[in-house]
């Protein structure tokens, strides 16, 4: 296991990133800790907490997932995907907004859902599930506003400047939405064991998480057609995260949370994306080898 941790750190270093990982065998409780208790900025990974909150409220009857929402262009949270990138008014259900929020990390969809359930409800849900170090302090639109404000008049171009990056509040876990790798695997474990919600809502959340489109991070470490990967990414300047669950055909289920920071300020760094999958794979292989040894 220590060998696996060393290999994870070596892989991260080779890719030019610093990272923190926690992996959990959902059924046996076996763990791998490579910085599991590091406070980290969740960025869009926090949309997972919002997804769970939404379904929890639906399970309590506080809202109907088929409820229609008007998504008007005025005041829409910006973003490169989904409703956030669209030009005209749209109308869709809460659960379809949740799908867009998880599948393509749609910021506008996420903030429409947040407007419906409230930030406090998200924090109440994570607290109820025992995620003591997880907290949402702002909406996704507010988080992006701090980046815009801290970047100053030069806008996105300023994000190549290390001094600007160093003063981004969005990258400070004390001042942004935060969690730890261990809290995130705990949340995933609860979703996959149907402890977060009713089995019916658990299945709905797992379906949506399996529809995330990005192949470049966690999923890239598991190039197997018979292995199911469900996850949620999170990204900000120099920050690349993904948390998710990997399911093997023999029934093995592993929750993995990987949070990284790159030294380089470039936005396009394929190796930094891929190493999230590489590190997760090393962790899952180690957990599987341990299960194999203990079964003999």
């Amino acid at each position: 296991m220590t060998d696996a941790v060393a290999r994870i750190h070596a892989a991260l270093a080779d890719a030019g990133v610093t990272g923190w990982l926690h992996a959990l065998d959902i059924d046996s409780g076996e763990q791998l800790d490579a910085g599991a208790d590091q406070p980290v900025c969740t960025a869009s990974v926090h949309k997972l907490c919002l997804l769970v909150t939404l379904h929890e409220q639906a399970a309590r009857g506080a809202l109907d997932l088929a409820e229609q929402v008007e998504a008007v262009p005025e005041g829409r949270t910006a973003g490169p995907t989904g409703v956030a990138a669209m030009l005209d008014a749209a109308r869709m259900s809460l659960r379809d907004l949740a799908y867009l929020m998880m599948a393509v990390s749609d910021n506008a969809a996420a903030d429409l859902l947040l407007r419906r359930v409230g930030l406090d409800a998200v924090n109440a849900t994570t607290a109820r599930l025992g995620l003591t170090r997880t907290r949402a302090v702002h909406t996704f639109g507010e988080m992006l506003a701090t980046v815009r404000e801290d970047a100053g008049p030069d806008g996105a171009r300023a994000l190549a400047d290390p001094r600007v990056v160093s003063r981004l509040r969005a990258l400070d876990p004390a001042r942004s939405n935060r969690s730890t790798p261990r809290d995130m695997t705990r949340l995933l474990g609860a979703v996959w064991r149907d402890e977060a919600c009713t089995p019916e809502h658990g299945a709905a959340m797992r379906r949506i998480m399996g529809l995330q489109v990005w192949p470049h991070r966690l999923a890239s470490g598991f190039p197997f057609d018979d292995v199911h990967v469900a996850g949620k990414t999170g990204s900000l300047p120099t920050l690349r995260n993904e948390v998710g669950v990997v399911e093997y055909p023999d029934g093995g289920r592993y929750a993995v949370a990987v949070f990284t920071r790159t030294a380089h300020t470039a936005a396009t760094l394929p190796a930094a994306d891929a190493v999230i999958g590489t590190a997760a794979r090393i962790a899952v292989d180690a957990l599987r080898a341990r299960a194999f040894r203990s079964s003999r």
Binding site: V213, D225, D226, V227, P249, D285, A289, F292
Partner: protein, 319 residues
């Protein structure tokens, strides 16, 4: 066709007399044919002086194409001959190097019974070589390893041979009746050179890694004796189907032993392959003989995908 042959011969000989001799014809009709070809194409192919003939730039551009057309013509005529004669002619076939002698013998005996009159030109070729030759129509039928690019090919049934491991008799894992993949950890793996079947090579390594065996190093070797020598001398292990394992398994084993692998072991998958639309009676007979021999002599079984398939959204299709 004859015109093209004349063009290529003159281009290669740079001399009308020598080209005529090579084609077994007199020089005047040869130079008439070349002139007629030049008229027909509207392209000057050669510069002629009193003593010398030199190919023009335009001629050089067309030469490769002409050779290509001729080689296609030859294989077309060979196929036509076989179709016409049914039982006679020449079949150019290939087998991969990992079949046992018994399997090859069974295949040849079976094929001989099906097509006694046919001349069989059999080659031992890797999957990559077979694909090249099938595409060039230099090969009528082969037996390829999957995964490989099957564009333009027709395939016989896909058969599967489970792989076991060859290891030194003294290795700790050799004491086990079945070897779990993680028990091979830290050993070198002997594998065929990647160029022979790149997709299979990658798949074998990926499958081993997934099962818990990441070799310390990969060494390349293919011939059975060479591989056994490496296993003996270096303590490396090799993947090998049961039918191709060295003799003397069971009682009184040699220095190299074969054991079945467990824990998501890799397998070889084969099928007969021939160019689309060229599966004549002889090709079918070879494909059937190969399939039969693999099943009876090599213990291959039909490949049934037993594993679930989880398409990811990035695949951009859904069933």
């Amino acid at each position: 066709m004859r015109h093209l042959e004349c063009f290529v011969a003159v281009a290669e000989e740079s001399h009308f007399g020598r080209a005529a001799a090579r084609l077994g014809m007199a020089q005047p009709p040869l130079s008439q044919r070349v002139q007629r070809l030049e008229r027909e194409l509207g392209v000057r192919l050669f510069e002629r002086t009193s003593r010398q003939v030199r190919i023009t730039e335009a001629g050089t551009l067309l030469l490769a194409e002409a050779r290509e057309v001729l080689s296609r013509t030859e294989s077309f005529l060979a196929a036509a001959r076989r179709v016409r004669d049914g039982e006679t002619g020449l079949l150019r076939a290939a087998l991969p190097p990992d079949l046992s002698g018994e399997t090859v013998a069974a295949l040849l005996a079976d094929f001989g019974e099906r097509h006694a009159g046919l001349e069989l030109e059999l080659h031992e070729l890797s999957t990559a070589q077979q694909l090249d030759r099938l595409a060039a129509h230099d090969l009528d039928v082969g037996v390829v390893h999957h995964p490989c690019d099957v564009t333009g090919l027709e395939l016989g049934p896909v058969l599967r041979r489970e792989l076991g491991v060859l290891l030194p008799a003294g290795a700790a894992a050799a004491a086990l009746a079945e070897v779990p993949l993680p028990a091979l950890s830290g050993r070198d793996l002997i594998l065929f050179p990647r160029a022979a079947a790149p997709a299979l090579y990658d798949e074998l390594l990926t499958t081993c890694a997934r099962g818990g065996f990441t070799p310390a190093a990969v060494r390349h070797g293919q011939g059975a004796s060479f591989v056994q020598g490496l296993v003996l001398s270096s303590g490396a292990v090799a993947l090998c189907p049961r039918d191709a394992a060295p003799p003397g398994q069971g009682s009184g084993e040699g220095d190299v032993v074969w054991r079945p692998l467990t824990g998501g072991a890799p397998a070889l998958r084969h099928s007969a392959a021939w160019p689309k639309g060229r599966g004549d009676a002889a090709v079918q007979a070879f494909a059937e003989a190969a399939t039969h021999a693999l099943r009876t002599a090599a213990g291959a079984v039909p490949d049934a995908p037993a594993r679930p398939l989880h398409l990811r959204p990035a695949s951009e299709y859904w069933l």
